[in-house]
Structure formats: C-alpha cells, structure tokens
Amino acid sequence: MSENSLQDEKVIVFQLNKEEYGVPVQQVGSIERMQHITRVPRTSEFVKGVINLRGVVTPIIDLRTRFNLEQVEYNESTRIIIVYIVDMEVGLIVDEANDVIDIPSEAIEPAPEVVGTVEVEYIRGVAKLEKRLLILLDLPKVLSFEEINELMTVEG
C-alpha cells in the first residue's frame, strides 16, 4: 500500500466553500445532480437522508454540515458524488464537481497542521499543482461517526 501512495493519482475534484478537494477516482461511482432526498429521522445532523439511486437506496451526507461550514442553498451546480468505501455506498453533497486531474506523487504532501477550516483529521494530504491547492480527503474518516467507529474497532 505504501508504494501505491507514491504513484500518480487520478482524482475527482470538487468544490466546497470555495476550496478544492480531491477524492480518488476509484472510490467514486458517479456524480449526480440534486434530487429529492427523503429525510431519515433521528440520524446525525449531517445525514441529509436517502435517495433512490437507480433502485438502490443510498444515504446522503452534506459535506458542509459534516465539516461545520456555513450552510448555503442548493443550486444548479450542487452535485452529489457517490463514493464507495469498504462495503458502503454513500453520496456526498458538494458545491460543484467538474474536474478530473492527475496528481503526480511528488506533489502530494502530508496534511499541514491547519488547512482552511476543515479539521485536519479528515485530510489525507494536500497536493500543490502550480497555483491550485487540492485537499485530499480521507473518506473513511469523513464518513465515520461514533457508531461506525465502534463497528470498526470491533471488527478490525
């Protein structure tokens, strides 16, 4: 695995609060437009609900809420990025998603102590590409909340 992290990466780039983030293209199933979300009562605040993704009931997480960012209205450019982690399928609501880029391994640096407003524990690293700065997310950590943490420790 350590060797893999040294290789070039292809990532899907999305925007959140005017910053650019990246998730590995292998973990992304599709990018969807906003659609009706059915609220699921008594779940975490950042769980917006579930959608019907081609017959599969898929939970949706609002990344702004997850990262404690300011809430904005969903609009035409709002997207849901469907990601796969372990045996889970989850949609992430982001402001915009429209780019796929290759990141050379040497451009990736470990997460600095403070990056923007996103808590450092969700960040796998940052990539500097000329003038762009990409925050690479650690998806399993982004998705985990207490219950899942417990599950992981029991199983792992």
């Binding site: 009706h36 059915t38 017959g55 599969v56 989850v90």
Partner: protein, 700 residues
C-alpha cells in the same frame, strides 16, 4: 487448467449427487432387494467421483471410490444390505458432505476419513458389520483391496445384456463376425469428453455395429462418466485395426480391444444373474402391496418389504426439469433494474395522460401490461420449492429415531410448495428444531405407545401448503401431546406467570408458554433437545421472517405446530401514510385497523394521550413528534393507524392515509444501521424513497 470457474457448478452438482445418494440410501433401506436403487446410488456416486477427480479433490474421489466398492458388492449380491451397513455408508456420506462443505468454504476438501474407510473396506470384504462397528480399527494393517474389486467399479465390463442384444451377438457370431469389447480411456485432461465419445462412436459405426456401451449412450453424452467407457461392437475388422482407428481420435489415453465371448458372458451371469432374475420375478408380487408415496420414508429398522417405485420413475425425474442456476445476486440486480422500469412507467403514464394522445396512450398501456407480467415472472424466479429444505429431514429423522430408540414414520407432503429464496434460507433451522422436539418430547417409545393402544410406530408429518398470501408449514405428530398442567406448573415455578394468571388461560395461551425463553417440558435433558436452546429461538426466527407460529395439542393424541410465513420477504403490503410532507409505509401485517379520531375525544392518562377504542384504552403515538417531522399546522381530526405488537396495541397518529400498496422492501444500506423505528425503505412510483416504519419499536 484453471478450475475455479467450474468450482461453483462442481459444488452445486456435488451437493445434488450427495442428496441423491442420501435419498436413495433411505429408499434402499426400505427395499434392500431393489437393485435399481443401488444402481441409482452408484450412478450418483460415480459421477461425483469423476467430478471430484477432475477437479483435483483426490480425498473426495478416493472415499467415493471406496464407497462405490461396497455398493458394487451389494449390487453383485456379495453382501446383504442392512441397517448397520447403511449406517457406515451414511457415515461416509456425512464425510463426503463435510468435504464438499469445506470446498465450498474455500478449503481443499481434505479430511481424515481413515476410520470410515476402514469400516467400508471391511464390509466390502464380507465382514459382519457388527464386528466392523465394534472392532478396534487398525488402520495400517489393512491395505489390500484386491485388484479385481477395485476394477469392478470401473465401467470396463459389459453387463446386463438384454435378450435382444444377446440375440444380435449370437447371430453375428454365427455369421462370422466378431464381437469385441472395447475399453477406451480418455486422457485425464480431456476437456470435451462427450465430443471425444462421439468421435469414437463415429469411427466405430464405420467399421461395425455398436451393440451396447457402458455407461449408456445418454450418460456418455451428458459426460456422466469418469474417463473410461466400454463398448460392445460387432465388426468384421481385426482387433488391431479397430484399435488403430480409435487411437486416431485425439485425447485418448488407451484403447483395449478384446474379443467378447457370449458363452463366457452367459456362464458368468448365470451365477450372479440367476438370483437377480428370480428376485425380479418375486418382487412384483410385493409391489401389489400398498404403494407409498415417494416422499414418505420409514426411519426405522423395520424389515423392508415394499417396493416403492418403478425403476423408470427416477429416470423421468432427472429429465423432467430443465433448469439453469442463476446467482441470486444477479436476480437482485434484475429486480432493481426492473424497479427502475416501473418507476419510469409511472412517469410515462403521467405524461401520456397529460398529453391526451391516443397512440401514445395505447402504447403506454401495452407497456404497462407487459411490464406487469414481467414483474410476476421476476418474482417467481426467486421462488424455490420447499423441498430443498425438506430433503434433509428423512435422513435426520432416521438417525434421531435410532438414537432415541423410537419407531417413527416421516410423512412429507406439499414439498413442491414454493417460497421465496430468502425465506427458504431461514426456515431450515426452526424446522429442524421442531422436528427434534416432536421426536424427543412428542412421540412416545414403542412400548409406551403399545400400552396406550397405539401402533408402535409413531407418525411425524411435515406438510406445506399455500393459502392466500401465505405459506403454511405444519409439523405434526401423533405422540403424547402437551400436558397443560405440567406446562402451567413449570411456568409458575419459573416465574413466567403467576398462579392467578394461570387460571384464566386458554389452551392456546398455555401452549404458547412453551415458546417463552428458558422453558423446556422435558423432565430430563436428553441428547437431542433440552440443550438450553428452547422453542423461543424458533419463535423469534419465525417472527423475524414476518411469520407466526401456533401450537395445537391434545393430550395423548399429538401436537401440531403450525408456521405461517409470508410468500416473500422482498415484497410486502404496506399502508402508505403522510405525516406533513413526508410519506411513510406501515407494514399491513402489524395494522389492526385505521380510525379517524376527533381531537376532543383524546383523553389523558398518566400524562399520556390515549383514546378509548372499542372499550380499550389505547395509547397514542404522534409520529410527527417521534420522527421530528417539521410541523406546519394542527388539525381538528387525527388519522390514527392502530398497530399491535403481541397483545399490546397503540395508535399511530398521522396526517392522512394514502392507501394500501405492495412495495419492494429495501435496506437502508450498511451506512445507516439501526435507525430508530425504521426497518427499511422502499421506492415509490414517483421515484422517491419512502421509509418503512417499524411499529414494534414504537410500542413500549
């Protein structure tokens, strides 16, 4: 060669063959004289051996081979079948099953089977099974299976020639043709065995006339043979010529051409075949006795007499059902895709209504009808006969009856009843439990039965049937029944109920007590049941499947355990309700009825809102509060859905009823687990997701 792609097929087929062996062994126990059953077992075992050898599971192949030797000896009247011998063969089958299970779990199928191998070998050598059972097995000393016997199981000899074939052979002899017996061995790595067989036959047909082959041609075509087959042929050509011609076919390991002497064959078969024939003449008179159905079987050691079925029926069965195996996941994908189609169909219907275009309307109507039919087909594809589960019971009952020294006749009916695959997978264990329970606690010992004026053989019936949207499975016995007073005493002493409560209970309620946890009516813990796992587990499993179980019993006459199950778990009937802007589905199975209640009729008791519903005080649960639904306005009337959990009732307050609907049950996925009061989700016609309420969680 890459074998993994065949592994799944191999495992499935091995299980089928083992099931055949199992069933046939049980049938053989009833009719030890019926050689067609032995042949049936032999065929299945032989195919299994071939398959496992090809797949490289040598242990599996070896054990099967040794088992075959015993069967062969039975077939050749060298040994007599009795329960003791069958016990050992059953042990071998158990080992084989364990090996296959191991393989399907990703193992190598290796297993220490020395003990059972030793026993089998001793039987084969004609030792009394009783000695075999009890002797100390010295594994190292016994390694001499004679070569003859080893070969006897291979299809290198032609036997069972009928009159017609004999006549043809005799005539050809007189006309100066020669009869040859040819043994062809294909190479181990031969891929298309049937194709090679075909090529060999084609060669032979050019030079003579094929009289018979072993295995039979249809078996060869289906590749139901190991690597060798033999052919009886009449030809003018010389021994060498035939051999050379066959060897031109590729992938052939060896060809052995021998002259076939009719005289010698007849001499040989006289000794063996004589009693074979005389038996065949004797048997039909027995068969006039009452014929039993194929599904019933005796699980006792009663001396077998009846001949159950014509040998031909087994052949018919194998060719009747042509099926292919489909991975259940693929069916799920198909189902999901289909739901997409249904959702789009809904949209199309909407559009065509709005446009009011005749041709479009007709097309959409047609499409709706076809997709409705498609839906039925897809749902039916997931249905499996309950036979799959019932199959293992004859064997289990036989063993249990022997262990408990009881005589039990197992009667199975309705095995063809179909259930959804998901239900089938879950129902096996509860049934095993109920059957064990019936055998252990229900059916009395033979002596005891006779004392009570019953026959010494008890009857355990297993029945499945459809009724409405449900499938019923009943396990009934004609045993001692449930002693009401004993149950009550126990319940009181265990603190399940009080003395006071005990008085007013109906029989039904008393019997239900035995399914409470920590309850067992057995006076002593036996080997079979009473291991601390009670009927409460059965009840829980069945209820988790959305089913119910009821007990009916008469003291001294027997008990009936009746299980009611939904046809499928993936589709349920729900009542759709609206709470403000949100739609929820409540399973119909938990709804008693619906009501409209005036705000003024609501009463307060212990700080809770309740209503008087047909004389009962029913607590109200306001869904909009429980589910944190954003509220806009209050109304003067409440729509209430009355739901039950056991004997408790509650009223769920909603804003409006939408109606009853069949929906496809979906899980919320692995991310959202244990959401309060939500048991799943479904997709509605407009493509939106509606959550399914778990009313059990709402009733305290």
């Amino acid at each position: 060669m890459e074998m993994s792609q065949y592994l799944e097929v191999f495992i499935e087929e091995s299980k089928e063959h083992l099931q055949t062996v199992n069933d046939s062994l049980l049938a053989l126990e009833k009719n030890p004289q019926d050689l067609s059953i032995v042949n049936e077992i032999f065929r299945a075992a032989h195919t299994l051996k071939g398959m496992s050898a090809t797949m490289g599971y040598q242990d599996l192949a070896n054990l099967t081979h040794i088992m075959e030797n015993v069967l062969d000896a039975v077939r050749n009247h060298q040994i007599e079948v009795d329960s003791n011998i069958l016990d050992i063969v059953f042990d071998a089958v158990d080992d084989l099953e364990a090996m296959v299970t191991d393989i399907s779990a990703g193992g190598s199928g290796e297993r220490n089977v020395e003990v059972v191998v030793e026993k089998l070998k001793r039987i084969e050598q004609g030792e009394k099974p009783a000695d075999v059972q009890h002797s100390n097995v010295d594994v190292t000393s016994q390694h001499n299976i004679s070569v003859d016997e080893e070969n006897a199981s291979l299809p290198d000899t032609i036997s069972d020639l009928d009159e017609f074939e004999l006549t043809v052979l005799q005539e050809s002899d007189e006309r100066g043709f020669t009869n040859f017996q040819i043994l062809v061995e294909l190479r181990e790595d031969c891929l298309l065995k049937a194709a090679r067989v075909y090529m060999v036959f084609e060669v032979l047909e050019q030079i003579g006339e094929v009289i018979k082959s072993n295995p039979a041609v249809d078996q060869l075509e289906e590749e139901n043979f190991d690597h060798t087959f033999s052919i009886l042929i009449v030809s003018e050509e010389s021994n060498e010529e035939i051999k050379n011609r066959i060897e031109k076919v590729s992938e052939i390991e060896s060809v052995d051409v021998k002259e076939f002497s009719i005289n010698q064959y007849q001499n040989n078969s006289q000794s063996n075949g004589q009693d074979f024939k005389s038996e065949q003449e004797v048997v039909p008179s027995d068969s006039e006795k009452e014929l039993e159905t194929t599904t019933s079987s005796v699980a006792t050691m009663t001396p077998p007499q009846e001949k159950t079925e014509e040998p031909s029926t087994t052949k018919q069965q194998t060719s009747q059902n042509k099926t292919i195996r489909v991975n259940i996941e693929r069916l799920d994908v198909l189902m999901n895709l289909f739901e997409e189609l249904v959702i789009d169909r809904g949209r199309l219907e909407q559009i065509s209504n709005d446009l009011d275009h005749t041709e479009l309307e007709e097309t959409v109507e047609r499409m709706s009808r076809i997709s409705g039919d498609l839906q039925n087909i897809i749902l039916n594809m997931r249905m499996v006969p309950v036979e799959q589960v019932f199959n293992r019971f004859p064997r289990m009952v036989r063993q249990l009856a022997r262990d408990l020294n009881k005589k039990v006749n197992l009667d199975i009916s309705g095995a063809e009843t179909e259930l959804d695959r998901t239900v089938i997978d879950e129902i096996g264990d509860p049934l095993v439990h109920l059957i064990r329970n019936s055998l252990d606690h229900g059916i009395e010992s033979p002596d005891h039965r006779v004392q009570q004026g019953k026959t010494d053989e008890g009857t355990l019936s297993l029945e499945a049937y459809h009724s409405g949207n449900h499938v019923f499975i009943e396990v009934s016995d004609d045993g001692g029944g449930i002693n009401r007073d004993k149950v009550l005493d126990k319940a009181i002493s265990n603190g399940v109920i009080t003395q006071e409560q005990a008085k007013g209970l109906s029989n039904q309620q008393v019997f239900d007590l035995i399914m409470e946890s920590g309850f067992s009516t057995a006076d002593k813990v036996s080997d079979v049941s009473g291991r601390g796992v009670g009927l409460d587990v059965v009840k829980n499993t069945i209820e988790s499947l959305g089913g119910t179980i009821t007990i009916d019993s008469k003291l001294g006459e027997g008990s009936v355990f009746s299980i009611q199950l939904p046809l499928t778990l993936s589709i349920i009937s729900v009542m759709l309700v609206e709470v403000q802007q949100e739609k929820y589905a409540i399973p119909l199975s938990s709804i008693i009825e619906t009501a409209i209640v005036k705000k003024d009729d609501i009463m307060h008791a212990h700080n809770k809102k309740v209503i008087d519903f047909r004389g009962r005080v029913v607590p109200l649960v306001f869904l909009k509060d429980v589910l944190d639904v954003p509220v806009e306005e209050e109304e003067d009337y409440y729509s209430v859905v009355l739901v039950r959990k056991g004997d408790k009732t509650a009223g769920l307050v909603v804003d409006s009823f939408i109606g009853q609907q069949e929906v496809v049950l979906k899980s919320l996925g692995n991310y959202l687990t244990n959401v309060f009061a939500i048991s799943g989700a479904t997709i509605l016609g407009d493509g939106q997701v509606a959550l399914i309420l778990d009313s059990n969680a709402l009733i305290k």
